[in-house]
């Protein structure tokens, strides 16, 4: 029977390896989007979708600012980069600053609708029956330094309403001046040329990032053009830098923790077979974890690799429990040795898998992958210990066992006396109280990611040189249809103008500023009929314009958004779907003031993507603590069934103390408590329960053997999580530090669980 099961397991693992091999041969699609690891706002799906659309559009943008003392060279280099972008097939080049041709095309489209298109100033003048000032403005422009009008234009638009409307439009990127079609800005002795591209492929796919990098070949361009500077901005660049770091770190951590584990095992057993048995267990765990994750999710996130590979280090615990039995009794068969630890590792696997599976309850897609990877890997490791190790085991009793067990026994004696236990628990609780009273919560998502410092500097420089790139907070406007959304934006305009006056923001871009609502356009036509048309004859004679004004047709329908877009109005970034618009906010200095101004306005939401992620992180930090309690509750029935009520409490005491003490000590050391610390504690609990179970399962004479096995397990876990604590990514660092500290505490306290074993 056992043989059959072992063979069956071999077949399963061969199939998993084959599947994994095929997937690897086809090239794995690594995901690098850190935001994909973060929770989604599940309460308002429509809002989330709209925000996602805005964020996605933004993430597809690639901004390159090329600088050189010689403007000609800068422009040349920018042209080269623009054609490289286009030729790569990855991106299209966008025009942020429309050229004269585009402006003329827009003018032609808008002309028939001119009587409905009034600038705010003209509209305000007409509403206070001051048509004279509108006429005066037109006359001043005809007589002024630049004759911006000709007879044809004046006959069609005698009050120059359309030029007034156009010149009142917001001017994003006003610092940029087109030089032969290339937007440029002069800063001190450097001329900068701007290239903006939109990626047509996934900016978070590592292969796309690599292709983009190769296509642009910035290093090559800079090498061949001395003195050329290139500033970059774009999610693809940030994600690429982050992914490189994560992959570098995970390969370093992987190699270092594997080497450390090998050394530790060799030192402990002074034999080869426990080493290769442990490596077999780890390998099986990783293959099963990878294959299952790929099967379930179709792709892998780099963070899964980073967290998952170190979690798999826990799998080696079960093989260590088994292998350490060789120190115990003389010449018992492998099957008999397995029988002694079978219950312990079965309970351990179950509680740990319960701990990992509670991660599935957190609404973090990335954590789902980590949970799946780890649970699958752990179950596979357990099955391998149970089914394969006794058959493969050729160990002989080591000679140095007595010394090792002696050390272990000394370690055990620490918690021997009830008095010491009491004092230990009291001191632990005191430290916990002290630390927890000083704990500081940290939910700022911007601090959780490690953004590449040179890229952050580039971003600041680009902002300084050409202004905001529309990547900050924005207003989301949602209405039944486009017309209603445009009307809503018009009703917001006074509020925004007030905020602009107060200096809370520099300007705003709303679709309604380019295409007023149909009802506003009709209202404007009525105003023009009532206030300006009666003045027309006098106005024309003042201008000395010969001939008649063009006939007026106020019956044509209003200008529509669709028509404006077709003619090339720069509205793309502001229209999400019919009725869902974005109002871009430029030069925000006081986000809270803006947020306040729009709270409680129906259909309008102030969206601060980074701020909202931070708020959600805070919410889910609390939820993670809930998960912690939940996984403790889920483990309890099994422990109570095995050890009785008091026994279950005794088993739960050490891991619980570790869970409370670890963040307390981190706080005393000046660390913050974030969602990622909370998630680490969920795992500390399940691993700590493992250790406690191993001690609860052992007999007095076997206790030193168990102590040795748990010490080795804790040692290997510390090697992997301690290394995570060295990560540059703040989130990974927090996770690793809390894990390492928690596991150390769980190990030190675990022998307390021994006393009440049956």
């Amino acid at each position: 029977m056992r043989r059959k099961l072992a063979l069956l397991w071999l077949v399963v693992m061969l199939a998993a390896s084959l599947y994994l091999g095929l997937r690897l041969a086809n090239g794995l699609g690594w995901r690098t989007d850190l935001m994909a690891l973060l929770p989604r706002d599940e309460q308002d799906a429509g809002k989330q979708r709209a925000e996602d659309a805005v964020t996605r559009a933004l993430s597809e943008r690639v901004v390159l600012l090329v600088g050189h003392a010689d403007g000609q060279i800068a422009r040349q280099a920018a042209t080269t980069l623009a054609s490289r972008l286009t030729n790569s097939g990855l991106a299209s080049v966008e025009t942020l600053v429309p050229g004269s041709e585009a402006i003329r095309r827009l003018g032609t489209l808008y002309a028939p609708y001119r009587r409905g298109l009034l600038s705010d100033a003209d509209r305000a003048a007409l509403m206070r029956h001051d048509g004279a000032s509108v006429a005066g403005r037109a006359v001043s422009q005809v007589f002024g330094f630049l004759g911006v009008a000709d007879a044809r234009l004046l006959r069609a638009d005698p009050f120059l309403l359309l030029p007034g409307f156009f010149t009142a439009l917001p001017t994003p990127f006003a610092k940029l001046q087109p030089v032969d079609g290339m937007p440029m800005v002069q800063d001190g002795g450097t001329a900068w040329a701007l290239v903006v591209g939109r990626l047509s492929a996934d900016p978070y796919a590592l292969t796309i990032q690599d292709r983009l990098k190769a296509a642009l070949d910035l290093d090559g361009l800079q090498a061949s053009t001395p003195g050329l500077q290139v500033k970059r901005l774009g999610a693809a660049f940030f994600a690429e830098a982050g992914a490189r770091q994560a992959l570098d770190e995970s390969s370093f951590i992987g190699v270092a923790s594997a080497l450390g584990t090998v050394l530790l095992v060799l030192l402990a057993y002074r034999a080869a077979s426990p080493l290769w048995m442990s490596l077999l267990v780890i390998a099986v765990g990783i293959i099963a974890g990878l294959a299952t994750s790929l099967l379930v999710f179709g792709e892998l996130h780099v963070a899964t690799l980073l967290f998952g590979v170190s979690l798999i280090g826990v799998a080696v615990d079960y093989s260590l429990q088994y292998c350490t039995e060789i120190f115990a009794a003389a010449d018992v068969s492998p099957q008999a040795r397995l029988a002694r630890v079978r219950m312990g590792i079965a309970l351990g696997t179950t509680t740990t898998v319960i701990g990992y599976l509670t991660l599935l309850l957190a609404p973090f897609p990335g954590l789902h992958q980590i949970a799946t990877f780890s649970a699958a890997g752990l179950v596979a490791a357990w099955l391998t210990v149970m089914l394969w190790l006794p058959t493969l085991d050729r160990s002989t009793k080591p000679r140095h066992g007595r010394g090792m067990l002696g050390w272990a026994a000394r370690g055990l004696s620490l918690w021997q006396s009830p008095l010491r236990r009491g004092v230990g628990v009291a001191v632990a609780l005191l430290i916990a109280g002290l630390g927890l009273s000083q704990i500081r919560m940290q939910d700022d998502v911007r601090r959780m990611q490690s953004l590449s410092a040179p890229l952050v500097a580039d971003q600041h420089e680009i902002r300084r040189l050409i202004g905001g790139m529309g990547d900050g907070p924005f207003l989301l406007v949602r209405a039944a249809d486009d017309e209603a959304a445009l009307r809503l934006e018009e009703s917001l305009a006074p509020r925004l103008a007030k905020l602009q006056q107060d200096g809370a923001l520099a300007d705003w871009l709303a679709p309604a500023r380019y295409v007023p609502s149909a009802s506003r356009q009709m209202e404007n036509r009525t105003l023009v009929r009532a206030e300006l048309d009666p003045m027309l004859a006098e106005h024309l004679s003042q201008l000395a314009l010969s001939g008649e004004a063009a006939p007026v047709d106020d019956s044509i329908p209003a200008l529509t958004l669709q028509a404006a877009i077709t003619a090339g109005a720069p509205l793309g970034a502001m229209l999400v779907s019919p009725g869902v618009h974005v109002v871009l906010l430029d030069g925000i200095t006081q986000p809270t003031l803006i947020a306040q101004a729009f709270t409680g306005v129906d259909g309008v939401a102030f969206v601060d993507p980074a701020g909202q992620f931070s708020a959600l992180l805070g919410k889910y930090r609390l939820r993670a603590i809930g998960l912690l309690a939940l996984s403790a509750v889920l483990m309890a029935p099994m422990l109570a069934w095995r050890y009785g009520g008091r026994g279950a409490l005794r088993v739960m005491l050490p891991p619980t103390l570790a869970v409370v003490l670890a963040p307390a000590l981190r706080a005393l050391g000046g660390g913050d408590f974030s969602f990622f610390d909370a998630m680490a504690l969920v795992l500390v609990l399940s691993i700590g329960v493992d250790y406690a179970i191993f001690f609860a399962e052992t007999s007095t004479e076997r206790a030193p053997v168990t102590m040795l096995a748990v010490a080795l397990a804790a040692g290997t876990a510390l090697l992997s999580f301690g290394l995570l604590a060295m990560s540059q990514v703040a989130a990974v660092h927090s996770f690793g530090s809390t894990m390492a500290l928690g596991i150390l505490l769980a190990f030190l306290l675990a022998p307390m669980a021994r006393g009440g074993a049956r």
Binding site: V97, G99, S100, E101, I103, R104, G136, R137, V139, S140, Q141, V142, F143, G144, F145, L146, G147, V148, D150, A151, R152, L154, R155, T167, T171, F173, A174, K175, L176, Q177, P178, P183, L543, A544, L545, S546, G547
Partner: protein
């Protein structure tokens, strides 16, 4: 030492018209203008007059007094028009691609700096130093952004007349009188007016 003493006296030297020809940076040209704008489809030319201040590299202040008081400020940053202190027009150069170059052209023509114009125009000179004519013809006839078909200028010590010919037969004819050239700074009002452009 002697040199230093001389330098110390420099600010007290009377402001006199400096050498004829090209304006140097730091020099300021002030004067009155009469603008005759001929527009197709108008029964008579639009004539306006007023005074101007040109500071090469800084900008041009163009104050029409008759028939309407309109102040126009123009530099490479863009153009602002004011009627009774109210802005009636503000166009950054980014909005009108030719605007920055337009300033270079007009400022260059008024300052007699033909060199700056040679990129966009072929320059033909005739006459003598005290009575010269210059004709500028666009190099690229097909450039849609080029607002002029030709620019004619004439003058003696300073530029006295500029004729801007536009497509379709429209033309601006400018005459400059009572011109003074100084090397002093802009006065406070003038500096404040030009600062409006970059606000």
């Amino acid at each position: 030492m002697k040199r230093r003493a001389l330098l110390a006296f420099l600010p007290f030297l009377p402001k006199v018209a400096l050498a004829c020809g090209r304006l140097d940076p730091g020099q300021i040209l002030r004067g009155r203008f009469v603008q005759t704008r001929t527009l197709q489809g108008f029964t008579r030319p639009l004539i306006s007059e007023g005074h101007f201040v040109l500071s090469p590299g800084r900008g041009l202040i163009w104050r029409a007094e008759k028939p309407f008081a309109v102040t126009t400020l123009i530099s490479s940053a863009g153009i602002v028009q004011l009627v009774q202190g109210n802005e009636t027009l503000r166009l950054p150069s980014s909005r009108m691609p030719m605007l920055g170059q337009l300033y270079d052209m007009l400022g260059g023509a008024m300052a007699g700096d033909w060199h700056a114009l040679e990129r966009d125009f072929t320059v033909a000179r005739s006459g003598e130093a005290q009575a010269w004519q210059v004709t500028l013809t666009p190099r690229h006839a097909d450039n849609a952004a080029m607002p002029f078909t030709a620019i004619n200028a004439s003058g003696g010590c300073l530029v006295e007349a500029v004729e801007l010919l536009k497509p379709g037969g429209d033309a601006d004819r400018l005459r400059f009188v009572d011109q003074t050239l100084t090397s002093g700074p802009l006065d406070a009002d003038e500096a404040a007016a030009l600062a409006v452009l970059t606000r």
